[in-house]
């Protein structure tokens, strides 16, 4: 590419010959007003704001669509050009609402910014506002086309950049308008990529309030799935790889942030799905099952890209081999430290092995992922209980405690100490150790979370005939995921919502039932739940076995040596350091029972903090997947792309309750492809250059550098 010399406003400028006069000027800190021009769109030339004077040419030239040429002499502040700009501004403001302060785009409006720069002539032109009411029919985007100044950036973005064509120009009663190319955006094949919103200079096309979090920086807010994930897994990137059929790259993308891709594919609580923009349309993308499919196709090709720093000679002890402990062990080893994990139970995995039942997470999957961690040199010592972290610290440079919450909570009910009354943690651990606790015909589980469902389902599989789950929460407020509640009901588990527990009924030291009373108006106040008891609604569910599934707490005492508060380990929320230097902690034992992904996400932060403490840079970012050049031209939505959420294949209820084999079979290849195609690719919007204002171009007073 050759370069040419030209003169703009007296400044000698060298520019690549492919540049336009406008680009050359802006690159050199000389601002020329422009509105219909957008750096990601083809030049247009319609707004007439970028006109400039070229020596030797009559009239004015359009700087956005005129290429630079050798020896050109340009005057951006030519009197005639400025008069034309002012006229264009005058005209646009005669069609645009006069009141700015009521507009949601106030302060971020490019039209207002330009008019401040260009100035007003006060000409006695006629007001010709476009009378069109707001179109709020779409759940994601709002059209207030009475503010539209017809720069056409949205139409061009939708057509040229995206290949969708959901917006078009149309003359309505003689007036030019931007309209939807169909009865609705869905009909028009809209992909809901938001490019139109991103390029609109005024407040005409906007995201609806509540779709994105206004308090976050744009690059985080615009991709809500990635933002919601505690480990910030790059969801759109791996879904795009799945859509392309490149499953290994998808798996590698997940692994960039988590050492348990496939385990998470089975059991993740998927906050990403809860925040998926597609929820506003027809159901979130089934992100977890996509991850599971991709991870199952992993060919290990990511390993050649994984970093491994040279040995540092520092020794790290990890107490507990749950998701937090193993994540820390994995990354600390990659950072070059010598890592030993101490696990109290016979095998590694923590709640992934001793809490989550095997019908939800096949143990081969977990074993394989733990083997991957051991393969890089992490030592795991099972059946090794650490009584005191402080004692352990004497032999190590850093001790990290992630001892989880392995003790169940027991409510102060009458008869709660009888042998037929179990705690969730004990009940699930016994089953997973191969020595299940016996259950009677009638089992009542107290609690409404995922662990309560695990207990109820385990009881069913252990042979209980009638299993009842009862909880304070109403059906729509249960903390268990809706999918799991549905499956539980299919498996014959009866869910009794909005009940408070009065007493465990017993005869001769044997549990016979649980007495509950209906409640309403449930709130969680500072002292716990608040509600009103409904009179005459007390009933007794017959029970031979009662299982408490109302929370868990760390199995830890003062002997451990670090500061505790209400039974949990206290850490600095930013550094994860305990009160004892060199001892760190995170995971459930700090936060109370959360999730695998939460544990992994925090463990990554703790790793950075500990590595820095040991003198490292704390950087564990890695690019395991290939660079992805996402194609912005996504085309009109197909029938498949508009389809409802793909549901996974499952084993029939009658069969699955007989054993602990996996019951959710996830997706096959074609289901994964279809579901991946539903992704709205919210991240594409980040490819679009942010809107700039005149003050952004001018380096300092006076123009060119």
């Amino acid at each position: 590419m050759g370069t040419v010399q030209l003169t703009i406003d007296g400044y000698k400028i060298e520019a690549d010959e492919s540049k336009t006069v406008l680009e050359a000027a802006l690159d050199n800190g000389i601002y020329i007003p422009h509105l219909c021009h957008h750096e990601n769109l083809h030049p247009n030339g319609g707004c007439r704001l970028c006109v400039v004077k070229q020596d030797g040419v009559d009239g004015v030239i359009t700087s956005c669509s005129t290429k630079v040429k050798e020896g050109m002499v340009i005057h951006t502040k030519d009197e005639q050009a400025e008069a034309i700009r002012k006229l264009s501004c005058d005209f646009m403001f005669k069609t645009h609402p006069t009141e700015c302060t009521g507009c949601p785009k106030y302060g971020k409006c490019q039209l207002a910014s330009i008019s401040q720069y260009v100035g007003d002539t006060g000409r006695d032109l006629r007001y010709c506002q476009i009378r069109v009411t707001a179109d709020e029919s779409n759940p994601l985007m709002l059209h207030e086309m009475h503010r539209c100044i017809l720069c056409g950036r949205c139409v061009r973005a939708c057509n040229e950049m995206r290949g969708v064509g959901a917006l078009k120009f149309e003359k309505v009663d003689g007036r030019m308008r931007v309209v939807i190319n169909g009865d609705s955006l869905e009909e028009a094949g809209c992909r809901f990529c938001g490019a139109c919103v991103e390029v609109c200079p005024t407040g005409s096309i906007r995201d609806k309030v509540g779709v994105f979090d206004d308090n976050l920086p744009k690059e985080r807010a615009l991709v809500p799935c990635r933002e919601a994930c505690p480990a910030h897994v790059n969801v759109p990137k791996y879904i795009r790889y799945i859509n392309e059929g490149n499953y290994a790259a998808a798996a590698a993308t997940v692994r960039e942030k988590v050492p348990f891709p496939e385990t998470l594919g089975y059991v993740c609580v998927h906050d990403c799905e809860a925040n998926c923009k597609r929820n506003f349309l027809n159901g979130a993308v089934s992100i977890r099952n996509l991850k599971r499919y991709a991870a199952s196709q992993d060919d290990g090709s990511w390993k050649k890209n994984a970093f491994q720093k040279p040995d540092t000679g520092k020794k790290v002890a990890v107490i507990g081999s749950g998701p937090a402990g193993l994540t820390v062990a994995y990354y600390m080893r990659k950072l070059g430290h010598e890592v030993t994990v101490f696990e109290k139970l016979p095998k590694a995995g923590g709640q992934m092995r001793y809490g989550i039942p095997s019908y939800r997470l096949p143990r081969e999957v977990l074993d394989a992922e733990i083997a991957e961690i051991e393969a890089i040199g992490v030592k795991i010592e099972c059946n090794s209980e650490v009584k005191s972290a402080v004692e352990l610290k004497k032999d190590y440079d850093v001790v990290y405690a992630a001892i989880g919450t392995h003790a169940g909570n027991k409510l102060p009910l009458e008869n709660n100490d009888l042998p037929d009354v179990y705690l969730n943690a004990d009940f699930l651990r016994a089953e997973n150790l191969g020595n299940p606790l016996p259950v009677g015909e009638n089992v009542v589980v107290l609690g409404g979370g995922n662990v309560a469902i695990d207990c109820a389902e385990t009881a069913v599989r252990l042979g209980a005939k009638h299993v009842v789950m009862t909880c304070l929460e109403a059906p729509d407020k249960m903390t268990a995921s809706a999918e799991e509640v549905t499956w539980a009901k299919e498996d014959g588990i009866i869910v009794e919502n909005s009940r408070t527990f009065d007493a465990i009924v017993a005869e001769n030291g044997k549990v016979t039932g649980l007495t509950v009373t209906g409640i309403e108006g449930l709130k969680f106040g500072p002292k716990g739940p608040e509600f009103t008891r409904i009179p005459d609604s007390t009933v007794t569910f017959p029970a031979d076995t009662v299982i408490f599934a109302v929370g868990q707490h760390p199995d830890v005492t003062e002997e451990f040596g670090v500061e505790l508060n209400r039974g949990r380990i206290v850490v600095n929320p930013e550094t994860f350091a305990t009160n004892i230097e060199g001892i760190y902690a995170s995971g459930d034992c700090v936060t109370g029972t959360r999730s695998v992904i939460q544990a992994v996400g925090e463990a990554r932060l703790a790793v950075s903090a500990m590595d820095q403490y040991l003198g490292g840079d704390g950087n564990i970012e890695e690019n395991l997947a290939p660079e992805q050049d996402a194609n912005p031209c996504i085309g009109k939505a197909t029938e498949a792309q508009r389809a409802n959420r793909t549901e996974p294949r499952t084993i029939d209820a009658a069969d699955r309750v007989k054993n602990f084999e996996p019951m959710d079979l996830g997706f096959d290849c074609s289901m994964a492809g279809c579901e991946a195609d539903r992704c709205l690719q919210c991240d594409l919007r980040l490819q679009i250059a942010p809107q700039k204002f005149w003050s952004d171009y001018v380096p300092e007073e006076g123009g060119a550098e």
Binding site: G46, G59, Q80, F91, L125, C128
Partner: protein, 369 residues
């Protein structure tokens, strides 16, 4: 990429439908020119005809569309072919594409000239409501092809043209490099303001809407000139038209946009008195304007100041307070007539006479006027 040569008949001005005339009358020559150009470009050929027109003897693909002054621009044509509104792209090295074609455009007249090698152009001469399309040697004096002896004005160049006095025709030379495709004669009974309204309405409808100056300029001109026929315009509007129009001539995006103000500016310059009469005296000597334009008035001797009319007016055009004679602000009145039925005293009337009765200029107590 393949080439597509589009023979566009849709660029024509409202005053000169020359292309379709040539296809009907000179098809053999046009086809010969098109074939020559197509061979040079190795292009497939497509004819773009006005909707509803049928031409026998075209053996290429034919598509239909509405007239638009931008349809000589390849990008604009490509947009139309793709089902979008036409809008031009004028840019260095720009290639217009439609499907897998690169689009080039020629008019039937260009094809005819290419085939015949003649040094002529076609001119649509309109007088007394009749249009004749004449083949004219370049350099011919306009006076020799058009007799406008007793006419009021002549518009040379249609929607992109300039009004001149009839006597100017004699020395006016028809040229190839300007918009001399139409000569339109306006007789003495034509009101120039009304003519300007009609030309600006056409310009507004013709504007593709891409460029702010043309899209909003045509709308402003249409609105302002129309106000001159209903008494809402101000004297300063004539200078406003000239000033804005001259900027548009320099600053608009495409040739049509830059030229569309010329008929209006030239009419204002040539017939300043007639425009001023419309604005200041609210009269039209030709009797075309203000005739049907109803003005609603509140007769001061009948109004009781009850205020019923105020509530009825959607435009808030009625000024008044209890026991004062109410007044209609003619600038704001939209002539809907709702106030007439709201008045129990029959004080509000539709006034069709150009001469208005004596009316209060400021709020006056009932009975004091």
């Amino acid at each position: 990429m393949k080439n597509l040569l589009v023979v566009s008949c849709l660029k024509d001005d409202n005053y000169a439908h020359i292309s379709i005339h040539l296809l009907k009358e000179k098809l053999a020559d046009v086809k010969a020119g098109v074939e020559k150009k197509a061979a040079e470009l190795q292009a497939d050929v497509l004819y773009l005809l006005p909707e509803g027109e049928k031409v026998d003897g075209i053996d290429c693909e034919v598509r239909y569309g509405a007239y638009n002054p931008t349809l000589g621009n390849p990008y604009s044509v490509a947009q139309l072919l793709a089902g979008n509104l036409p809008r031009p792209m004028i840019q260095d090295d720009f290639v217009a594409t439609y499907e897998d074609y690169e689009v080039s455009v020629m008019t039937p007249e260009e094809a005819y000239l290419l085939a015949t090698g003649k040094n002529v152009r076609f001119v649509a001469v309109t007088a007394d409501g009749k249009t004749e399309i004449k083949e004219v040697e370049i350099g011919t004096k306009a006076g020799s092809i058009c007799d406008a002896g007793s006419a009021k004005a002549v518009l040379i160049g249609g929607q992109k043209g300039t009004f001149v006095k009839p006597e100017s025709l004699a020395d006016y030379e028809i040229r190839a490099d300007r918009d001399d495709y139409a000569i339109t004669v306006f007789n003495q009974d034509e009101c120039m303001v009304q003519t300007a309204v009609s030309i600006m309405e056409q310009a507004w409808a013709s504007s593709c809407g891409k460029c702010v100056l043309c899209r909003e300029g045509t709308l402003q001109f249409k609105t302002i000139v129309t106000e001159m026929t209903t008494g809402k315009a101000k004297v300063t509007d004539l200078d406003l038209i000239r000033e804005v129009g001259e900027l548009i001539e320099i600053g608009a995006y495409c040739p049509f946009g830059r030229a569309m103000a010329k008929p209006l500016i030239s009419a204002v310059n040539l017939f300043q008195d007639e425009f001023e009469e419309h604005i200041k005296r609210k009269t039209c000597k030709c009797g075309k304007c203000y005739k049907a334009a109803a003005v609603y008035l509140i007769l001061p001797d009948l109004c009781t100041g009850c205020g019923d009319c105020v509530d009825e007016c959607d435009e808030d055009a009625i000024d008044g307070k209890a026991n004062f004679i109410h007044m209609i602000d003619q600038d704001m009145c939209e002539q809907c007539g709702k106030c007439v039925s709201a008045c129990d005293e029959d004080a509000i009337v539709k006034w069709e006479d150009a001469k208005l009765p004596k009316l209060p200029k400021k709020l006056t107590k009932v009975g004091k006027f």
